[in-house]
């Protein structure tokens, strides 16, 4: 089990050549974050199907543009993971526009940003991926 430790930097990695395009990751994330069966309520998106697989998800930047742009300090770093404090978020969408990787998504119904929070170190998407196209990498 991977756990957060100070100094350790966790991030998701994606190998497009292994991806089958089944979207198990996407729905696992939506059920984890919002108990939802809707593909657009997920912090990971697989685009480009069926011709190729481009997965968009938070790169857990060390200097996150989303965090920089948030005037309400609703985005913060915790153990190397970029997190959203939904209590402080006003739904201004600035973070979505700021992300250079198109990895901050928008929840249409709730008017809130959605992003990968690495599921406390054990991402559900990694767990359900049948080909290990998604993995967690540790950086120091």
């Amino acid at each position: 089990m991977v756990t957060f430790q100070s100094g350790k930097h966790l991030k998701l990695t994606f190998d497009a050549s292994k991806c089958l395009g089944c979207r198990a990751c996407q729905i696992a994330c939506a059920t984890q974050l919002f108990s939802s069966l809707n593909l657009r309520e997920s912090g990971i998106r697989v685009n480009g199907l069926p011709f190729n697989s481009n997965a968009s998800f938070c790169k857990q930047c060390r200097e996150p543009a989303c965090m920089d742009h948030c005037d309400l300090n609703a985005i913060y770093l915790s153990g190397g993971v970029v997190m959203i404090d939904y209590d402080s978020c006003a739904g201004c969408k600035v973070c979505v526009k700021a992300c250079p990787y198109d990895a901050m998504f928008w929840h249409e119904e709730k008017n809130l940003p959605i992003k990968c929070n690495l599921c406390n170190g054990n991402p559900r998407c990694v767990e359900v991926c049948p080909t290990h196209a998604l993995e967690v990498e540790e950086e120091w």
Partner: protein, 611 residues
């Protein structure tokens, strides 16, 4: 009480009046007919039973998801399209993957009933806000794949699209409906019904969560299913070859249709099968939540195509004598773009080729084309001629039964169909169970109504026994289970995923208690209902007939050389079938007693009088 799985709302679209409204679904109806194919069967019985033909404004096109569509089930993306079929003039349906069912449910709808016919081409746009009809003038005449690309320019990349090509527009009796590029509702001409109604496409995008009764249990069952599937060593062959591995299997079993079913072995099978596609494929493509990823992306003559799968490789390959996988794949792309079912399109071309071989068609009747078996050029040209109804294509566009009627000259013997639907990809001269499945299938000869040939191989190819009859009936009830639930059957057929798991998933999704036996009983109800639709529309047991070729033209080569079906024994098998089903042995139709036992009293009254 229903607590999830179903949305309980259907869109009713009247193309003549240009009206869209939302209709609530009664809970008793939901559960009695399960969903998908069960709902479509009942709706066609209720609303289109006695329409004069497929191309009548009163005919309905029903597009329906199932209670497991979009839920945590492997391959949970299936949608049934049903109507009175232009190929058979009976109940017809076809099943398709892609994301449309999921988007529909995310938008809050279980499905769509389309009625009437538009004056001018339209497409239907479904979103969280409801649905509306929009002009499709700018799309009419375009291929299906091109239509998708155009609509994505208008509506964004993340919509799901179901569309028809020129084949559907020009009322080709085997026109297909394409969903999201690589998925086709191929059989029974649903694309032509859309074409008649001038409905070019259905586009959907939904933003809501699909409700289920017990998400935690679903998660657990889904995890169980995926762990089982991923543990199977066979899975790697699916990633490598997909359904194309069946080509080698069928070749070895001498049931690979070759040159219009003249033979059961193809000398170039190795060039168009699983091993060949493993080398040529660019990648594997999965359906929703399915680790099998049986679809393959290929590039052929500069075109990207999802496919071919087994049936396509038979009908655009061995059965027309074509031995180049790239040419098969290109013909597959043409069918997808033109909007033609690869099975029936290939079958009518094989018919024309055999007519040409036997001098029933002369060179000047075929625009100077060389229609010899093996000519890829002829296949490409004829596909275009069919979709645009040019020359010989206009005759072939009617399907092989009517094409043979028009042509005459004894060509009827070369028309390989049951009830007007071209026989799909298994030679049955040495497969009595599969032969029975073809003969009795409600929609005409289609392998997926009951894929019984593996049982023939298991218990003996020469046997015409009661256990085979019972197995065919069992399969005819298992298959609707998947079509009703809105999921793919392959995890069960090919990897042996436990059927009982689907009943558990159904219960977790809907909150409705039902065992596997309960669900199979409903399948039986649905099978009898579609048979009853046939009965009202003039179907009798005389139509449960196989092409003469299987009885009188022995296999000319291979390990089963000389094999033919035994007519007498096959007739006995048919009688056993009617008896086992509780159908009248004289008419071959569901008896009053059987229908009433299945709680279809109103259907029985219509069929047998009274009430």
């Amino acid at each position: 009480m229903v607590k999830g799985g179903y949305l309980g709302r259907i869109l009713r679209v009247d193309l003549s009046k240009k009206e869209v409204r939302v209709q609530e679904v009664d809970e008793e109806f939901m559960v009695r007919y399960v969903g998908g194919r069960g709902w479509t069967a009942r709706i066609i019985w209720d609303e289109a039973l006695e329409v004069p033909g497929a191309f009548d404004p009163n005919n309905k096109l029903v597009v329906m998801t199932g209670p497991l569509t979009g839920t945590l089930t492997p391959g949970s993306c299936k949608v049934t399209l049903a109507s009175i079929s232009p190929a058979t003039n009976l109940y017809g349906d076809s099943n398709v993957g892609g994301m449309l069912g999921i988007e529909l449910k995310q938008a809050g709808f279980d499905g769509i009933i389309i009625e009437g016919a538009a004056e001018k081409p339209v497409y239907l746009w479904v979103s969280d806000k409801g649905a509306e009809l929009r002009s499709a003038d700018h799309l009419w005449g375009l291929g299906s794949l091109t239509t998708e690309a155009e609509l994505k320019k208008e509506l964004g990349n993340d919509v799901s699209i179901m569309s028809i090509g020129p084949g559907g527009e020009n009322l080709v009796s085997f026109a297909c409906v394409t969903c999201d590029y690589g998925n086709q509702a191929g059989r029974t001409g649903m694309g032509a019904v859309m074409g008649f109604k001038k409905l070019k496409a259905i586009v959907a995008k939904g933003g809501r969560s699909i409700p289920v009764a017990d998400l935690d249990t679903m998660k657990k069952l889904y995890k169980e299913a995926i762990s089982y599937m991923v543990s199977k060593e066979d899975l790697k062959v699916w990633w490598e070859q997909g359904l194309m591995q069946v080509i080698e299997w069928a070749q070895e079993a001498s049931c690979l249709p070759t040159r219009n079913f003249q033979s059961g072995v193809f000398e170039h099978a190795d060039l168009i099968g699983g091993k060949a596609i493993a080398k040529m494929k660019k990648r594997s493509v999965a359906c929703y939540l399915c680790p099998m990823a049986c679809k393959k992306l290929l590039e052929a003559r500069g075109k990207l195509v999802i496919g071919p799968e087994y049936e396509t490789a038979v009908f655009l390959g061995s059965n027309v004598g074509v031995s180049s996988l790239e040419d098969v794949a290109y013909a597959n792309w043409l069918c997808d773009e033109l909007g033609l079912d690869t099975i029936s399109a290939g079958a009518v071309i094989a018919f024309a080729m055999e007519c040409f071989e036997k001098n029933l068609l002369s060179s000047n009747e075929v625009d100077g084309l060389d229609l010899s078996f093996g000519s890829s050029k002829a296949v490409f040209e004829l596909l275009n001629m069919i979709a645009w109804r040019r020359g010989l294509g206009a005759i072939l566009a009617e399907g092989v039964e009517k094409a043979a009627e028009k042509l005459g000259r004894g060509s009827e013997k070369l028309a390989i169909h049951v009830k007007g639907l071209e026989v799909s990809g298994y030679d049955v001269r040495a497969a009595p169970a599969m032969a029975l499945a073809y003969a009795t299938a409600d929609i005409g000869a289609h392998h997926n109504r009951a894929w019984a040939i593996t049982y023939d191989l298991k218990v003996g190819r020469e046997k015409y026994t009661k256990d085979k009859v019972e197995w065919v009936i069992y399969l005819q009830h298992v298959r609707p289970l998947f079509d009703c639930l809105g999921v793919c059957r392959l995890p069960w057929v090919e990897l042996g995923l436990d059927l009982k798991l689907y009943a558990k998933l159904y219960q977790a999704a809907t909150g409705v208690h039902a065992t596997l036996d309960d669900l199979l009983k409903r399948s039986e109800r649905i099978y009898n209902l579609t048979r009853a639709i046939g009965a009202v529309r003039g179907l009798t047991k005389e139509k449960d007939r196989l092409p003469e070729r299987f009885f009188s033209d022995p296999l000319p080569e291979g390990p089963l050389k000389g094999a033919v079906l035994n007519r007498e024994l096959f007739e006995e098998m048919l009688s056993m079938y009617y008896e086992a089903r509780g159908w009248d042995p004289k008419s071959g139709l569901p008896s009053r007693q059987k229908l009433e036992a299945l709680e279809l009293k109103d259907v029985s009254d219509k069929l047998h009088g009274g009430g």
